[in-house]
């Protein structure tokens, strides 16, 4: 429509504008605009029964109907205990680790004196067997917190993942701290031949000997 030849006719639009339809509101009757809203009339109380079918179901009189009573909810166990797994863990830790020493010993994110990946550690089990190794990783998982030890026994690599809070673990001792600061939390590269630490038995044997001497000539045995 908008041909260039029609452009001079554009001035006619301004003439047309006067004849545009007015907005709707101006068309309302003045009585409508200024009169009050009609009030809803209540339904007649004594309506003849033959008319009852004409009114909506919810307005029909029903002598049996009682108002819906909404009862309040009882106290919630879910609100009282937001972390049930934490509660179960706490109740177990109270038995397995009452003083929280073991927890602090492996909480390497918060405790600077804890065991850290790269340390050499000696674990003694309930049946008397020790296991020594380099800590490759520490998994903080509540009651299932565990650490992974790697060692070489009779020229065979042995890895053992030990649960920190297991009742079978009698004691955990740090034999030697890591020489340099480790930049990784998981030292799985130490499984490679190039980075393998090989056996740590000598270091641990030295430590045990020194400890015995310190404790008094090997009379006391841990």
């Amino acid at each position: 429509m908008a041909l260039p030849a029609m452009r001079p006719l554009g001035c006619l639009w301004s003439l047309m504008r006067a004849y545009e339809p007015l907005p709707m509101i101006n068309r309302r009757f003045i009585s409508t605009a200024y009169s009050k809203r009609p009030e809803k009339l209540p339904l007649p109380q004594d309506m003849p029964p033959q008319f009852l079918s004409q009114i909506p179901l919810r307005f029909r009189p029903d002598p049996d109907r009682q108002p819906l009573k909404i009862y309040p909810a009882p106290p919630s166990a879910r609100k009282a205990c937001k972390d049930p797994i934490g509660a179960v863990t706490e109740s177990q830790l109270a038995v397995l680790d009452p003083k929280g020493e073991r927890k602090a010993m492996f909480d390497y994110r918060r405790n600077p004196r804890s065991v850290k990946p790269g340390d050499i550690v000696r674990v003694t089990f309930k049946n008397g067997d020790p296991f020594n190794g380099v800590v490759l990783s520490i998994k903080l998982r509540g009651i299932e917190t565990s650490f992974l030890l790697r060692n070489e026994l009779t020229r065979v690599a042995v890895e053992m993942s030990v649960k920190v809070f297991s009742p079978n673990v009698n004691s955990v001792e740090i034999v030697q701290r890591s020489e340099k600061k480790r930049r990784r939390a998981r030292l799985y590269f130490m499984r490679d031949r190039k980075h393998d630490r090989r056996s740590v038995e000598n270091i641990v044997a030295n430590y045990v000997r020194q400890k015995k001497a310190f404790l008094g000539g090997g009379n006391r045995r841990r």
Partner: protein, 319 residues
């Protein structure tokens, strides 16, 4: 249809006086003396378990004193009598898994933590009215404005707050019907007893036959193209009727179906926090609804007193 309507409009005292006879008689077509005198025998609407194809009365197998047919609701109840738990269960929420160590033996047991939240008895299902015994139990809380008027009326009528989860627990007989409004605490279960858990498995979406049914798939090569994971043939051809048999295993939606894990031991009960710890795994993601009830394949737990008294005692002990 008209006859059914008529029987429903019968005076109430007829139902109350001979409820068991009424429910069992019409399907069998037996001539009952009471009914014979009043009206001609007509079928009465029955509720609950019933087969879709009701037994046809035989011309020759009619008369009093004959054994009750095995496809009747009564027979179904009799069959189930030994495999239905004596008492109701509870609705719980799966909170996740952890492990429990035994301080003496050092044994570690993986376990699932379940939590009860405001579990209350809403209503009953009875043999006389519904054809079976069950306890309807609700748990959680839902804002009343999100509950339909009909359901709100149900809660209101039984004096309970609007519940988020509603389930039925079938019980063997009337003795298992807890009073309405009774709250079921974690102490309802005893440490060491066994339970069955019901919950929906994790949904896997639309899965192929290899994942869904463990089919072997097809070769990577040897001329196979584009159908390495498809199901292959779906059945015999002309000899088999040239059709796919019903129940053929095919690709489709996997998971998100109800699964029952039987005989899980209860390791720990914490009434104050509503925690029940069961051994092993329970189907479904964290936060799913898990229904637990006494294991049907183990001896029933020895409840100290009647169910009602026990719960009361524990409630007072907790308070």
């Amino acid at each position: 249809m008209l006859t059914k309507r008529c029987t429903q409009k019968l005076p109430a005292h007829l139902y109350t006086s001979t409820p068991s006879r009424i429910t069992m008689s019409p399907r069998l077509g037996l001539q009952l003396p009471l009914w014979g005198s009043l009206i001609t025998p007509i079928s009465v609407r029955s509720f609950g378990i019933r087969s879709l194809t009701p037994p046809k009365p035989s011309r020759y197998n009619v008369g009093p004193g004959l054994p009750i047919l095995e496809s009747s609701p009564e027979a179904a109840l009799r069959r189930k009598a030994n495999s239905l738990p004596l008492r109701a269960g509870a609705i719980t929420i799966k909170k996740g898994m952890t492990a429990i160590f035994d301080p003496e033996t050092g044994k570690r047991t993986p376990c699932t933590v379940l939590q009860l939240d405001r579990v209350e008895v809403l209503s009953h299902k009875t043999v006389s009215k519904h054809g079976y015994y069950a306890v309807q139990v609700g748990a959680g809380w839902k804002h009343p404005r999100n509950v339909t008027k009909a359901l709100l009326g149900h809660f209101s009528a039984h004096g309970s707050s609007p519940k988020r989860h509603i389930f039925e627990f079938r019980v063997k007989d009337e003795a298992g019907l807890l009073p309405i409004g009774q709250s079921i605490e974690a102490g309802w279960f005893q440490e060491g007893q066994f339970v069955d858990t019901r919950s929906n498995t994790k949904g896997k979406g639309f899965a192929g036959v290899m994942k869904r049914h463990g089919f072997g798939g097809q070769d990577r090569s040897h001329g196979v193209s584009l159908t390495h994971r498809s199901m292959g043939s779906s059945g015999p051809g002309q000899g088999g009727g040239s059709r796919v048999y019903p129940g053929k295993k095919m690709a489709g939606n996997m998971g998100n179906t109800q699964n029952t894990v039987q005989n899980l031991k209860i390791l720990k009960v914490d009434s104050a926090n509503g925690i029940v710890v069961v051994s092993g795994a329970v189907s479904g993601p964290k936060g799913c609804v898990v229904r637990i009830q006494d294991a049907i394949k183990k001896p029933w737990p020895e409840v100290p007193v009647e169910g009602e008294e026990a719960v009361k005692g524990e409630a007072t002990a907790a308070a």
